[in-house]
Structure formats: structure tokens, C-alpha cells
């Protein structure tokens, strides 16, 4: 009996070790940042700071603000579950998912417009579509992760002491936001007026 209890305790400890999980997630995010760094630096190596005509600056600024707003809603979703506010957490996580989807639709419009100005085969086009596509893929996976934890929250999982999956998904979402903070000026602003 005592052995079974000890084994169960050990299993529970192994599956819920927030600090170890956090370190694991940070290592994963650091490895992801190398990938983004490689693609971001390729923009400067291949195209310098040249910027073609036809970039939709207003749409890009709008998408940036949208992603920043989604970051605050994700943050509030995590803060809400930590305060045992399940409904609040679900509300904020849902808002984040919706904003993420709107962001992807915006990227779709941007792709459609950009391809007419600098096709994929051009120097800037190859950098632009690869970088935006890589980021959009991460947004999509972030949305999926948030949707999974949102559903688990809905059916009663997680509480103030046990919400690592929400924290992990939200941290990943913030990472996607940090990546955009660098990608946005790299693709849209460094060319100047």
C-alpha cells in the first residue's frame, strides 16, 4: 500500500514539475530562435536593407497591433486561471485564438497582394514569403496549442496550482509575438521612407 502510494506520488511528481517543464520549454524556444535568426539574417545577406515598392505598410502595422493585443489577452488568460477564474481564462484564451485566426487571414491578404509586386522567384520575394510563411506556421501551431488547452479548461482541467499546459501554450504564443517584433521591422521598416 505504502509502495503503491509512493509510486503514485513519484508519477505525479514526474508529470508535474513546473520548473523543469519551464526550462525544457525555454530550451525549445531558444532552439526555435536560432531557426528564426537564420531566416532573418538571410534577409540582410540576400537583399541588404533594400525594400521593394508595394509593401502594404498599413496592413502590416495593423497585424502587428493585432498580435500585440493577442499577447495581452493570452497573458490575461494565464493570470485568470492562476487566480481560479476559469471563465475569465476561457474568455481571454478564446479572444487570443480568434485574434490569431484574424492575423492569419490578414497574412493571407498580404500574400495575395505581395505576390503581384514581388513574385516568389525574386530576391525579396523569396525572403519575404519564407519568413512570413515560417512565422504564420508558428502562429497556426500556437493557435492549435491554445485551442487544446482551451478545450481542456472547458471540461474542467487546470486550477490555480496546476495550469502548466496553459502557461506553456501562452509562453509559446508570446514567443511567436517576440519573433514578429523582429520580423516586422526586418521586412517592412528597415528600408526607410
Amino acid at each position: 500500500m505504502a509502495l503503491a502510494t509512493a509510486a503514485a506520488h513519484q508519477r505525479a511528481e514526474a508529470t508535474y514539475r513546473p520548473q523543469a517543464n519551464r526550462i525544457g520549454l525555454w530550451l525549445f524556444l531558444i532552439s526555435e530562435s536560432f531557426l528564426f535568426s537564420a531566416f532573418i539574417s538571410s534577409r540582410y545577406v540576400i537583399a541588404g536593407t533594400d525594400q521593394p515598392e508595394g509593401l502594404n505598410q498599413n496592413l502590416a502595422l495593423g497585424l502587428t497591433v493585432l498580435l500585440l493585443v493577442s499577447s495581452i489577452s493570452a497573458y490575461l488568460g494565464e493570470a485568470a486561471i492562476a487566480a481560479d477564474d476559469r471563465k475569465g481564462s476561457m474568455r481571454y484564451l478564446s479572444i487570443t485564438v480568434v485574434l490569431g485566426l484574424v492575423f492569419l487571414v490578414g497574412v493571407g491578404f498580404e500574400f495575395d497582394e505581395a505576390v503581384t509586386h514581388f513574385p516568389i522567384g525574386t530576391v525579396y520575394g523569396s525572403v519575404f514569403f519564407t519568413l512570413i510563411g515560417l512565422h504564420a506556421f508558428h502562429v497556426l501551431t500556437g493557435i492549435l496549442a491554445l485551442a487544446v488547452v482551451l478545450n481542456l479548461t472547458r471540461i474542467g482541467h487546470y486550477g490555480p496550482e496546476d495550469h502548466w499546459p496553459i502557461e506553456g501554450a501562452v509562453k509559446y504564443w508570446h514567443f511567436v509575438d517576440v519573433a514578429w517584433v523582429i520580423i516586422y521591422p526586418t521586412l517592412y521598416l528597415v528600408g526607410g521612407s
Binding site: P18, L76, A79, A80, V178, P185
Partner: protein, 78 residues
């Protein structure tokens, strides 16, 4: 017991309110930096160097306040 539980609840609520307030301040800071960054880029011919502080500041704000980077080395739990 009931008093203890209600104290816990009110402590959670107070932390929640503080975190909410901090979150909105950070979001406002990010928004202001983004607008300034846009203005700088549209008013200079070669703004790369001038944009760098904005990128660093925005990234640092998100890393520290939204991703709680310093918790990694401040937390007592291992």
C-alpha cells in the same frame, strides 16, 4: 478554516488584479513603442540603427513581463 480559505481567495484576487494592471501597462508601452518605431522608419532614409532600440525594448518587455523570464533563475522551486 473558512477565514483561511477566504484569505487565500482574496490574496489570489489581489494578485490577479495586480497582474491585470501590469499587463495593460506593458501592452500600452508596446503599443507606444510600435507607433514610435513606425514614425521613425517613415521619417528616416536608413533607419536600421534607430529601429534597434525599439526592437530590443519591445522584445525585453515581452520576455520579462509576459514570459516571466526572470522566474527561471529567481524561483526557489527546482
Amino acid at each position: 478554516m473558512t477565514t483561511e480559505a477566504s484569505t487565500d481567495k482574496s490574496a489570489l484576487l489581489s494578485t490577479y488584479k495586480r497582474r491585470q494592471q501590469l499587463g495593460w501597462y506593458v501592452a500600452l508601452g508596446l503599443l507606444i513603442l510600435t507607433i514610435l518605431e513606425f514614425i521613425v522608419s517613415t521619417s528616416l532614409e536608413s533607419p536600421l540603427l534607430w529601429l534597434t532600440p525599439f526592437i530590443v525594448a519591445k522584445g525585453a518587455l515581452i520576455l520579462e513581463y509576459f514570459m516571466h523570464f526572470s522566474d527561471l533563475y529567481n524561483s526557489e522551486e527546482h
